[in-house]
Each structure stands twice: as C-alpha cells, then as structure tokens.
C-alpha cells in the first residue's frame, strides 16, 4: 500500500507561499510526474511527502495512515534529491548501500543489490570511487542507485535525470519504468523534460505558483489542457495563442478569424477568448496534407527558421509590423509551426497556413479556463473535461 494523499497542504516560508492549499491523491502503484515552472513548489511538495518539511497547514497520508508528523524514516519512502547530496565521506558503494546497512541487511544481500543498482545506472566498476572523483552525471546516477536499492512504498525522485545525456536518459527512463512495474511502487517524479513526463507517467500533475493546475493522464493534459497555463506549459514548442473575441459566427482577432457556432460551446458574442493551437496542428496550405476539418487559409510570412534535425521550426509573423519574439513563441502576433525536416522553406517568404479545427482550443481569456478543445466535436453539453484544477478522484 503506497498511496499518497495531500489534503489542503500549504507551506509558507517567511514571505513566500511555496505550496498553496494542495490536494492530490496518488494511487498505490501509480507513477505521477510533477511538472511546473522553476520555483513552483515541486520540490517542496516532495519534501513534505518525505517528511523533511513540515506543512504549515494540511495533512499528508501515506498508505492510508496520516504521517504528517511522522519522521521520514517511518514513512517508507526513498528519495532522489534534486541537489544529489551524496555523502562526501563515503565511496560509491557505501553511498548506495547506506539505506540497506541501516536496516542491517546481510552483506551478501547488500552486495547483490548494490551490484544490481550499479548495473542499472551503468556505474559498474566505479564502486570504490569517492564522490569528488566523479563527473556530474555519475554523481547523479549514484544518487539514483542509492534510492533504488531500497524497496520502499513510495519513490520520490526530484529531477533524477537532469544531468544525464539523452541516450542515458532514455536508458534510465526504461529502467525506472521497469523498476516501477516490478516493485509496484508508487512513484512521484519531478521532471522538466516533457518527453519523460509524457512517456513515463500514469498521470501528470501540473503545478504553478504552488497551486495544482491539473492532474490527468499525459495525453489528456496535452490534448485537453485545463487552462491556458497548462496549455502553454505542456508541449514543446509551446501551443500558439491568439487573443480575440467571440463574434456571432466564431472567433475574430486582429490577425485571423475562425468560424464556428458560439452557442455550441457555451460562449456568446463579445466574450474575450483566446484561441490555442499547437505547432503540429498548423499546416502550410500547400503541403497537400489532407486534414479532415481545416480552417480557412491564414496569410503569414516566415521569419526565423530553426532546423532541429528531425523537424524544422518556422516562426510565422501574422503582422508585417513586428519582429519575431523568440522568447515568447506564443505571442499573439506570431505562430510557430513545425514541418518535416526535408521541407524547403526560406526566411521572409509568404506562406499561407491552415489550422486543424479538430485541434483548436478555446480559453476564457480572463480566467484562463479551457472552454473547448476541438471546434469539431459538437455539443456544448460535453463541456471541457478536466477543467478542475483539483483532483477529481476523491
């Protein structure tokens, strides 16, 4: 039993509220990723689950019992710390075996487990190194190994792969997933790598400013973001946003119009809404790809072009007067699209694009809440799913 429940948990530092009335329920054996901008309270949340930080308010439950005041050692958690925090006076073997030695495991068993863990993190042969004789990535792997040799009820991993190269990350990712499956352990995992969050987690919890924005399965978060923040945060490159207004027959803005029947989506003329569309849901009109439900053509001009190897990002300007704002690709007057790597584009060339109506999101500009995630699916009745920031399962 390793379900984790945070109830109305708040953590305030002197002048900062790091975590703000957080309610999350994580099921036994679930793999949940916490994502959110830097400083949003992910680590603090983890620390409260681990028992290293006492919530200012609220309660923490693990495996059904309240642990708010229990010391970490009685909570059955293992943790990979964001700051790695290896014991500087112990070699790799001693670091990894620390938790096992505390529990008086037999030497053989310790050796077996340490060897296994070292193999998983590809540190065989380095067991007698001291931490200060290792590279950053190697240290991080020791930290991971130190957590995974134990078999706790709950794994807490705070950016465990931040310092690893792409290949190793993929490897570690699968290893961690395998571990999760084998041990049926609950995993709470902080990452800033979207691919990691998408591929590994059962659900993703998106946090902003200490508040939970959405917790849902990855694709749901991607396809049906609960609000503007989630929509903009999930997906890289980010979703394109265009601010505008609802008219009698759809959406209008300075730069583009999209037709639809407002009444279908519970909005009415005059409402300020923001239209969102992901780069991959915008196609050059001439690409000839057949889309079931395209919008009308939108005239743009290519500006910056970023070849990424497996795809090319194109920044399209919707207006002549401005320049591309690379820092804020979601700025209202520009669209970022992604095209196959062999596409033949140049800077400063005119380009008409169409959007996939199926994949157009509408948000209430003021509250940020999602209104609809597709301008094809008909009845307004269905409404927006997953719009509630809080956990819907309890």
């Amino acid at each position: 039993m390793g379900d984790v429940k945070l109830e109305n948990v708040t953590k305030r530092y002197e002048d900062v509220t790091a975590v703000d009335n957080m309610n999350i329920q994580i099921h036994d054996g679930e793999f949940v990723c916490l994502v959110g901008p830097s400083g949003c309270g992910k680590s603090t949340t983890m620390e409260m689950v681990a028992g290293l930080t006492m919530p200012t308010e609220g309660t923490v439950h693990i495996a059904g019992r309240e642990v708010t005041n229990l010391p970490p050692k009685d909570r059955g958690v293992a943790m990979v710390f964001q700051n790695i925090a290896l014991f500087p006076h112990m070699d790799v073997y001693d670091n990894i075996s620390f938790g096992l030695r505390l529990r008086n495991f037999e030497k053989d068993e310790i050796d077996r487990r340490v060897d296994k863990a070292a193999e998983v993190v590809q540190l065989e042969g380095m067991l007698d190194r001291m931490p200060d004789e290792m590279s950053g990535g190697q240290r991080q792997r020791v930290a991971i190994a130190r957590a995974i040799v134990r078999q706790p009820d709950v794994f807490l991993m705070d950016e465990p792969l931040a310092n690893l190269d792409a290949k190793l990350r993929v490897h570690m990712r699968t290893e961690l997933q395998r571990l999760h499956k084998d041990l049926e352990t609950t995993v709470i995992y902080v990452t800033h790598d979207q691919a990691e969050a998408m591929t590994m987690s059962d659900r993703i919890a998106i946090i902003d400013g200490g508040q939970l924005q959405q917790i849902d399965p990855p694709l749901e978060c991607y396809n049906q973001p609960a609000n503007l923040f989630v929509a903009g945060f999930i997906g890289s490159p980010s979703m394109n946003f265009v601010e505008g207004e609802v008219t009698e027959n759809g959406f209008t803005s300075e730069y583009m119009d999209v037709e639809f029947d407002p009444s279908n989506y519970g909005v009415s003329a005059g409402d300020k809404v923001t239209l969102g569309v992901r780069p991959e849901d915008i196609y050059p009109a001439e690409s000839g790809r057949s889309i079931s439900s395209p919008t009308g053509e939108i005239r743009t001009k290519t500006d910056v072009i970023e070849p990424m190897g497996d795809e090319i990002f194109i920044y399209l300007l919707l207006s002549e007067e401005v320049e591309t704002d690379l820092e804020d690709p979601a700025a209202s007057n520009q669209l970022l699209i992604s095209v196959p790597p062999d596409s033949d584009v140049e800077e400063d060339q005119d380009m008409s694009v169409v959007l996939d109506r199926n994949k157009i999101h509408l948000f209430d500009t003021e509250s940020g809440q999602a209104i609809e995630h597709s301008l094809v699916a008909s009845p307004a009745a269905s409404g927006a799913s997953g719009t509630s920031g809080a956990e819907s399962d309890d």
């Binding site: 529990r103 134990r150 352990t185």
Partner: protein, 313 residues
C-alpha cells in the same frame, strides 16, 4: 506487494509487527518524547556541573574575606563591595585592558598566519607538507619553560646577530604577543586546516573563475564558509591569551603600565602569606565578563549549515 519490510533478510525490526496498534503508535511517538526528556536531563546535568564551581566562586566573592572559613552552600554575610574593592585595591581594569589588547593583537596575528598556513595545509598537496605540519605540531610538545631562557635573553637585548643586539622588548607588548602568537599558532593552524579542507573545491573554483586570486578566494569564500572553525579558533586563541599564565608572568614586571596582563592583577590580591580570596574571586568573575560577551558575539558566527544550498553534488 513488495515493501521493504517484507524482505526476508531484514533483521527483525519493530514496526512491521501488526497487532499492537496502540503499542506501535506509542513506540513511534514515545522515543521522541523520551529523547526530548533525556535531552533536557542531560542539558541540566551539564549546566549544573559547569555552573556549580562558578556559583562557589560567587559565594567566595560576596563573603567578606575574613568570613571565608567553614563555608556551606550559601554565602556567609553578603558583601558585594568586593566587586568595587577589586578596582580600588589595584588598577584591575587596566590589567583587563592589557589582556584584552594583547589577546586582540595575538588573535589577529594568529588568525592571519594560521589562515594562510591552514589554507595550504588543508587544500594543497605539496612536497614537505607532512614534515612541516609535524614540525609545527612538535613545537607544542614542549613545556613553555623550554622556551623561556633563550626568549628572555632575546627580548632583553642579550642576543647579538651580526653585531646588532636584539631589541629590548621586556616590559613591552611585543614580549608577550610574540610568544603568545607563536605558541597558539599550532592549534589554530590545525583547526583551520581541518575546516578549510572541508570546504568543497567547487566554491573555491567559482570564486577563482569570478576573478579572485587564490588568496582572494581564501579570504572571500573559504574563511567565511569556515566561520564556525574560524570563530572557534579565534575564541580559543583569545581566551587562551587572555588568561595565559606563563609568559604573562615572566615577560613583564607586573606593572599595569608595562602591559602586565590579568594574571598579575589576580595574583595582586595575594600576599606572601595572606590572600584576599574574596577579591580574587570577584576579580575572576569580573575578568570573565569580556570573554562571556565575546562568546555571545562569536557564537553568532557559529551558525549551522553554512554550506547549505551551495552545491549540487
């Protein structure tokens, strides 16, 4: 499911034995409470044992000198006047002043020299390191008397080097802080070596890339980060010098204007046969005050977790 407690090899431990819910509950909470209680017991024990002799000293100070005999746990009579008499009998404040200044000078010299030495010993590996450390350590093996005769001659102008006689330092502060510095250096060097060695290389690297010299990194980063160690070395040196007994007694003639330190003041209340125990006690208590203040100030520097948040490693 696979929980840690289920592992067969794990030696029998408490909390997985179900059944006694209440017992488990209390055993989880009680150790902490018991720990806290034990902590207070230990603390009070330490307080009582360290403070009792001081209380005894206080009793001595407020009991009129002639009544000091057959003392119990309470003062006989009450004569706070001793605390005033201390200053009227002798210029005790000047002795304190002298000790304070000497301790200050010595502490500054020692901290600077020991920082440099501690830095190289703690953070560099060079030829002769071990031998030099041993040499410095070896100086403290010797009873102070072993230095006295030559030093006395040196400080009284009796040593000639290349036709120049050594300076006459007797009855000057130099005759005190020089030996004080030399004799307290080994301890300070070893303390600082230990502490400086523990500062992660990463921080020194960062400082150097930012543009400090090696010495700059020492004084801007390593020293501040070793604050507990530096403050401790300073406090230990300061207190040691302030109360130093041997050279203080031998290198000046005992006059306050000749930089005689506090030990001369305290001994001044003692005659060939007679002793004003109450004045000595009062002087002892008064003399401790600057140190107590110093400790209060210095302990602010002895703060925890100095390196917290510094490094990701």
């Amino acid at each position: 499911m696979a929980s840690e407690g289920g592992t067969a090899t794990r030696s029998s431990d408490s909390d997985s034995q179900g059944g006694y819910e209440g017992w488990v509950q209390s055993s989880i909470q009680n150790p902490d409470r018991a720990y806290r209680a034990a902590f207070y017991v230990v603390m009070i024990f330490f307080l009582v044992t360290t403070l009792f002799p001081l209380y005894w000293l206080f009793i001595l100070a407020v009991t009129p000198n002639n009544m000091i005999s057959n003392m119990g746990l309470l003062p006989k009579g009450f004569n706070p006047g001793a605390f005033v008499e201390v200053f009227t009998t002798l210029p005790f404040h000047w002795y304190m002043f002298n000790s304070f200044i000497l301790a200050l000078i010595t502490t500054v010299i020692v901290l600077i020299l020991a920082s440099l030495a501690g830095y190289v010993f703690g953070r560099f590996d060079f030829k002769g390191r071990g031998a030099l450390m041993l040499l410095i350590l070896a100086i403290s093996y010797f009873p102070p008397a072993a230095f006295l005769l030559p030093l006395f001659r040196l400080f009284t102008g009796n040593i000639e080097i290349l036709g120049l006689s050594s300076p006459m330092l007797y009855n000057t502060p130099g005759a005190l802080f020089l030996p004080f510095s030399a004799l307290s250096l080994p301890l300070a060097i070893f303390i600082l070596t230990t502490f400086y060695a523990q500062i992660p290389d990463g921080l020194e690297d960062a400082a150097r890339v930012e543009g400090t010299t090696r010495l700059g990194a020492l004084f801007r980063v390593i020293v501040p980060l070793s604050a507990p160690g530096v403050a401790t070395a300073a406090v230990l040196t300061f207190i040691w010098v302030y109360n130093e007994f041997f050279f203080s007694f031998l290198m000046v003639d005992g006059q306050a204007k000749n930089w005689a330190p506090i030990v001369w003041g305290i001994l001044g209340y003692q005659g060939q046969y007679s002793a004003s125990y109450n004045l000595m006690a009062a002087a002892g208590l008064i003399g401790v005050l600057p140190i107590a203040i110093l400790v209060v100030i210095a302990q602010e520097k002895i703060v925890s977790g100095l390196t917290a948040g510094a490094l990701k490693e």
